[in-house]
C-alpha cells in the first residue's frame, strides 16, 4: 500500500489528537466494515469553529484523515462543515488508495455530525435565553 508524504506526516504527527473539555459540538463517523471510529470535538464561537480535536480507531489513513479534518474544520463555519466533501479531506492527505477511500468518508461523516450537534446545541441555548 503506497501512501502520500502528506498522509504519512499526518499519521506520524497527528494534529489536534485527543479530547476537549466542555465541547460545543461532538460527532462521530463510523465505518462498520472496518470497525473504524472517528470522534470530533468542536469549540465554536459565533458560528465558526475555533478549535477541533479528534480521537480515532482504525488504520493509518483513518488516523491521518481525522487529523487533516481538524485542520479543515478550524476557522470554518458550521454551515460549511455540514457540506464538507470527502474530496476535501482526501486532498488534504494527498489522496488515498482505492481500498482506503472510506477513511475520508468516515472523517467527513464525523465532522458533519459534530457540526449538526453544535448547531443543535446553539439552537437549544437560544430558545432557553428567549
Amino acid at each position: 500500500m503506497r501512501y502520500s508524504p502528506a498522509l504519512i506526516d499526518h499519521f506520524r504527527n497527528p494534529r489536534n489528537a485527543g479530547m476537549m473539555r466542555d465541547p460545543d459540538g461532538v460527532g462521530e463517523g463510523e465505518y462498520r466494515e472496518c470497525m473504524d471510529l472517528v470522534r470530533f470535538h468542536l469549540r465554536v464561537r459565533q458560528g465558526r469553529v475555533l478549535e477541533a480535536r479528534f480521537q480515532a480507531y482504525g488504520c493509518g489513513p483513518t488516523i491521518a484523515t481525522a487529523s487533516a479534518a481538524t485542520e479543515i474544520a478550524a476557522g470554518a463555519s458550521l454551515a460549511d462543515l455540514l457540506e464538507v466533501p470527502a474530496e476535501a479531506v482526501e486532498a488534504a492527505v494527498g489522496g488515498l488508495p482505492e481500498a482506503r477511500r472510506h477513511a475520508a468518508e468516515v472523517a467527513v461523516q464525523g465532522l458533519r455530525a459534530a457540526a449538526r450537534d453544535a448547531l443543535g446545541r446553539a439552537a437549544t441555548r437560544s430558545e432557553a435565553d428567549a
Binding site: F11, E33, C34, M35, L37, A56, Y57, I63, R101
Partner: protein
C-alpha cells in the same frame, strides 16, 4: 535514523549469499534444458539431480520421492488434488487454520462432490488428535494439515496425528512450508506420506518448492504435459531455482539446530520486552510448541495496520494479523478459530525472526513499539 529491521521471515527470507553463488552459473553457462540429451542438457540435469539429492539427504528419503514445483501453493494443490482425483470420491479431513492453498483446494474438491471436515483448534491453535480420530469416516481418503501455522507458529502434534492416519491406512499430507528447515521433521516417525516445502522461507529463491511423495502413495498428476519429474509434474524444471533450493536445504542442515536455539532466545527477549513495557498485550500461539522465530501478539484496542505502518516508518517490517482489503477489515481467521476476542484480534501483529536478527534489533523494536501503541491508544475513542 536509517536503521532497518526485518521481522517478516515467515512471509519471505533474503536469499543466502551461498545460494546466490550456487545459482548463478545456471543463468549463464549451464543454461541447458535438463530434458535435452546433449552435453548442455546433461549439465543442467546434473544440477537438478544434485539438488534432489540434497533435499532427499536432508529428509532422509529416496531422491525419487522428491518432486520440484513452483511454490508451496502448487505443492499443496498437487498433494491434495492428486490424492483425491486418484480416488474420484471420498472424504477429506483438514483444519480451520490451514493456509488458503489447502483450504481452497479442499473447498474446490467439495464442489466436485468430495466430503470435508474442518477440525477446530484449541486456544493455542493446536489440533486435538482425539478430534481427528473422531472425524475419520470409512470413506476418508486424505488427512491434510499444516505442521505449523504461518501466523502463530504453533507446531501440531505431528507424531500423534500421523499415527492415527497410519492406523486407519489414510494418506497423511503435511504442509511443512513454515517448519521445513526450521525444526526437525521425521517423516517415518510422523507417518507422513506427502510433505510440502518451499524455498523462499529458508533463504532460497522464490518460485521454487517441492513435494515429498512417499513411495507407493496412490495419486494422479494434476498438471499434464511432458514427462518431467517422473511424469508427476509436467513442465521444464526451474533449474537455477531448484539448484538454489538444494543449496538452501544443505545450509539448513548445517545451521538449523544452532539457529533455532538462538532464535528462541531472541523471540523470548522480544516477548518479555513487550509484555513488560506495553499494557494489554497477549501472546497468540502455544507458549513452547512454536516455530523458533515466530512471535504473534495482540495489542488490545489498537488496529494492527496502524501498528504495522507506525513501525514501518521506523524502518521495521512486521506483519498485520488482520487484513484490510477492498474496504473490509477481516480479523485473522486463525485467531478467530482460536477464540481470540475481536477487540484483541483486530490488534494482532506477527513478528518473525531470522538468521540476520540480532538482540539490538529486538531492543529497537521494543523501544519503537511501546510509544507507538501508547500514542495510538491515546487518540482512540471509547466505544459506546
Amino acid at each position: 535514523m536509517n536503521r532497518t529491521v526485518y521481522l517478516d521471515h515467515n512471509a519471505s527470507t533474503p536469499v543466502h549469499p551461498e545460494v546466490v553463488g550456487a545459482m548463478l552459473p545456471y543463468f549463464g553457462e549451464r543454461f541447458g534444458n535438463p530434458s535435452s540429451v546433449h552435453g548442455f542438457g546433461r549439465e543442467a540435469r546434473e544440477g537438478l539431480e544434485t539438488a534432489r539429492e540434497q533435499v532427499a539427504h536432508f529428509l532422509r528419503v529416496g531422491k525419487e520421492e522428491i518432486v520440484f514445483t513452483s511454490g508451496g501453493t502448487e505443492s499443496d494443490n498437487m498433494a491434495i488434488k492428486g490424492v483425491a482425483m486418484a480416488r474420484r470420491q471420498g472424504h477429506i479431513i483438514t483444519t480451520r487454520i490451514e493456509h488458503h492453498a489447502v483450504l481452497r483446494a479442499v473447498q474446490y474438491l467439495e464442489t466436485l462432490g468430495f466430503g470435508a471436515t474442518y477440525l477446530d483448534v484449541d486456544g493455542h491453535g493446536m489440533v486435538d488428535p482425539d478430534a481427528l480420530r473422531r472425524a475419520i469416516r470409512p470413506d476418508t481418503i486424505l488427512i491434510t494439515m499444516m505442521h505449523a501455522n504461518s501466523e502463530i507458529g504453533t507446531i501440531q502434534p505431528a507424531r500423534a496425528l500421523g499415527a492415527i492416519a497410519r492406523e486407519h491406512g489414510i494418506p497423511f499430507h503435511m504442509d511443512a512450508v513454515q517448519t521445513f528447515g526450521k525444526v526437525p521433521i521425521d517423516l517415518d516417525a510422523f507417518h507422513i506420506d506427502l510433505l510440502s516445502f518451499s524455498g523462499h522461507k529458508i533463504y532460497g529463491p522464490k518460485g521454487v518448492a517441492g513435494l515429498y511423495i512417499r513411495k507407493g502413495t496412490k495419486m494422479v498428476s494434476v498438471q499434464h504435459g511432458g514427462e518431467h519429474e517422473r511424469r508427476r509434474r509436467a513442465g521444464t524444471e526451474n533449474v537455477a531455482g531448484i539448484v538454489g533450493l538444494g543449496k538452501a536445504v544443505e545450509i539448513r542442515g548445517r545451521d538449523m539446530a544452532e539457529e533455532g536455539v538462538r532464535l528462541v532466545g531472541l523471540r523470548e527477549r522480544l516477548w518479555e520486552g513487550l509484555r513488560c513495557r506495553v499494557p494489554e498485550v497477549r501472546l497468540n500461539g502455544h507458549p513452547t510448541e512454536r516455530v523458533p522465530g515466530t512471535l504473534n501478539v495482540c495489542f488490545r484496542h489498537v488496529e494492527s495496520e496502524s501498528i504495522v505502518l507506525g513501525l514501518d516508518l521506523k524502518g521495521i517490517g512486521v506483519s498485520a494479523g488482520s487484513a484490510c482489503t477492498s474496504g473490509n477489515v477481516e480479523p485473522s481467521y486463525v485467531l478467530v478459530a482460536m477464540g481470540v476476542p475481536l477487540d484483541w484480534a483486530m490488534g494482532a501483529v506477527r513478528h518473525s525472526l531470522g538468521r540476520s536478527t540480532t538482540a539490538e534489533d529486538i531492543d529497537y523494536v521494543i523501544d519503537c513499539t511501546e510509544p507507538l501503541v501508547a500514542k495510538l491508544r491515546a487518540a482512540m475513542p471509547a466505544r459506546a
